[in-house]
């Protein structure tokens, strides 16, 4: 909670930094604040604290997500320095991002449907604006608009679900709902189950699971690359955090209602985006589909054992780090162009081997090649699924991850195989440092996954 206070304060301060003579110090200040948030989250470890009459509960899961979100945001700020370079928009962009982080943290720690709703909206509203932050670009506008439409559409479903559940159980508190469910194993009205499914649909939109994913590629490719990076890491983490928080603690008692639906969604989420990604020539779209595909693996872990959230958390961590690495390279490669195709990567190894190596490692990690972080993420998901008897689903997942290899390797092949006449790219020391940190993290998470895996074993 202290972390949440700090981040909220940070948001307000960065909003007001517009007027003081604070603009110059803003980035430094934000980084310090987020670091402080991480530290505070770590200090609260193993203490379950309840706030606002139980509306927010900071248990270990929430704290872990808070820390992950904050750390990803720090790295994200580092990679998107130039996004904040323009004087006119520095403070509002910063504060929008920080408020999105606030929403994410709330989504990871809510214990009441109202907080879930508010968290989602705080997050989404900032992102609608950020997605459209390239005002003169039609595709950016379009991305913002589609994101907005789909976001509020999904919210509608979510709210209708919440309303029905409230009607059936008389409460918005997750634990009260869970108790009511436990108390009336057969006595709940039918519309309760409709409510659960509607919430599932609403959240499926938010985590962009197939068939509710169609907005994601458009939004990801239209938004400025840095914003896309934010969406596919922090936002995705938050959405999945919210999803598992409610389904693993509250609705697990009525698992039979949603389990089959979720399995179908999961299989679709594994198959369709991975196949579609193969046909993409726009790298951002490709990564968008890939990020949708990754949701499939997370859902596989979730379907096989809804209460083992450690696996999902680890997967998200590895995914975030790898995605950030991929997007930082993408951002550095794209320059001023709006649409970045695979051809942009031609001969990148010759042009700048730092970039080439980083994105290679990132993509290999996303593809799940050992000993990188992504491998252990996938491995744990598969192992968990096999352990709970979902071997056939694992085989589907394995096949789709092979398809995944195909499109990731298109970029790799382009970098090492194709020739390009484009001028080489030079990096600043800070950029090199960032890439190094991201590579190091990708390896470190792969070589020492215990650090994170043991977090949830207490």
């Amino acid at each position: 909670m202290n972390a949440l206070f700090v981040i909220t304060g940070l948001g307000i301060v960065s909003l007001l930094a517009e007027f003081g003579n604070l603009k110059r110090w803003l980035t430094a200040f934000v980084l310090v604040g987020l670091t402080a948030a991480v530290i505070l989250a770590a200090l609260d470890w193993n203490t379950t604290q309840r706030y606002f009459s139980d509306m927010l509960v900071f248990d270990n899961q929430a704290l872990a997500f808070t820390a992950l979100i904050s750390i990803s945001t720090i790295l994200w700020f580092w990679l998107s320095v130039d996004y904040f370079a323009t004087q006119t928009h520095r403070t509002d962009r910063t504060s929008l991002v920080i408020f999105a982080v606030v929403g994410s943290v709330i989504m990871a720690s809510f214990n009441n449907m109202a907080m879930l709703f508010l968290g989602i909206e705080i997050l989404s509203m900032s992102l609608y604006v950020l997605a459209g932050s390239r005002k003169d670009s039609l595709s950016s506008t379009e991305a913002a608009f589609k994101y907005f439409l789909m976001g509020s559409f999904a919210t509608g479903f979510l709210l209708f679900g919440i309303a029905l559940i409230y009607g059936a159980t008389g409460s918005f508190h997750i634990h009260t709902i869970a108790q009511t469910i436990a108390a009336n194993p057969a006595g709940l009205p039918t519309f309760f189950y409709a409510g659960v499914l509607l919430m599932l649909i609403g959240l499926a939109f938010k985590i962009s699971a197939v068939p509710f994913h169609f907005w994601a590629p458009d939004v990801y490719s239209g938004s400025p690359t840095t914003v896309t990076a934010f969406m596919s890491t922090v936002v995705k983490v938050a959405a999945i955090g919210a999803f598992i928080r409610i389904f693993s603690s509250c609705f697990v008692a009525v698992e039979s209602t949603w389990s089959l639906v979720l399995q179908v969604i999961m299989i679709l989420t594994l198959v369709i985006p991975n196949i579609t990604a193969v046909y993409q020539n726009n790298v951002k779209r490709m990564l968008a589909y890939s990020s949708v595909g990754h949701v499939g693996y997370i859902l596989l872990a979730f379907v096989s054992s809804p209460t083992e959230t450690g696996t999902i958390f680890y997967y998200l961590t590895t995914y975030s780090v790898s995605s950030l690495a991929a997007f930082s390279v993408l951002h550095l490669v794209e320059g001023n162009s709006e649409e970045i195709t695979v051809d942009y990567f031609n001969g990148l190894f010759k042009k700048n081997s730092w970039l080439a190596v980083t994105i290679t490692i990132a993509l290999l990690s996303l593809a799940g090649i050992p000993p990188l972080a992504g491998f252990f993420g996938k491995y744990m998901v598969f192992a968990q699924a096999i352990n709970h008897g979902y071997t056939s689903l694992v085989i589907v997942a394995v096949i789709t991850s092979l398809i995944g290899v195909y499109y990731y390797f298109r970029i790799i092949i382009a970098m090492y195989f194709n020739e390009s006449s484009a001028p080489s790219i030079t990096l600043t020391a800070s950029q090199k440092m960032l890439l190094f940190v991201l590579i190091a993290l990708t390896f470190a998470l792969g070589l020492f996954p215990d650090v994170i895996m043991t977090l949830f074993r207490a």
């Binding site: 379009e142 608009f145 439409l149 559409f153 509608g156 309303a163 409230y166 008389g170 918005f172």
Partner: protein, 103 residues
């Protein structure tokens, strides 16, 4: 409070409104109308919440409605701003022209 109207009626009404909203979002092509349909969806939810709140004698449902209204307002503000931006770039609010990003 006298609950002369059965709860089921509210449920069906809300469901109908919600469905109309959903269909509107899916089938209409004018951005403003889509906005309105989304608002319709939210208001269906509000109606439902208020009805439940009354029948359960629990005020939290109505508080939730406040939240929804406040957030919906904020959402509309952002949405309209985006719409204005879109209009500036395209001179139209027909979402059919937004097909550039389709795969």
């Amino acid at each position: 409070m006298v609950k002369t109207v059965p709860l089921d009626y509210y449920l069906w009404l809300a469901a109908a409104l919600f469905t109309i909203g959903v269909l509107g979002v899916l089938y209409r092509r004018n951005a403003i109308i889509i906005f309105m349909c989304i608002e319709l969806m939210l208001n269906a939810v509000n109606l439902l919440l208020v009805a439940f709140s009354t029948y359960l004698n629990d005020a939290s449902g109505q508080v939730f409605v406040f939240f929804i209204m406040a957030v919906a307002a904020a959402e509309v503000a952002v949405g309209l701003a985006i719409l204005v931006m879109m209009y500036r770039n395209t001179k139209s609010v027909d979402i059919n022209i937004l097909n550039r990003l389709k795969w």
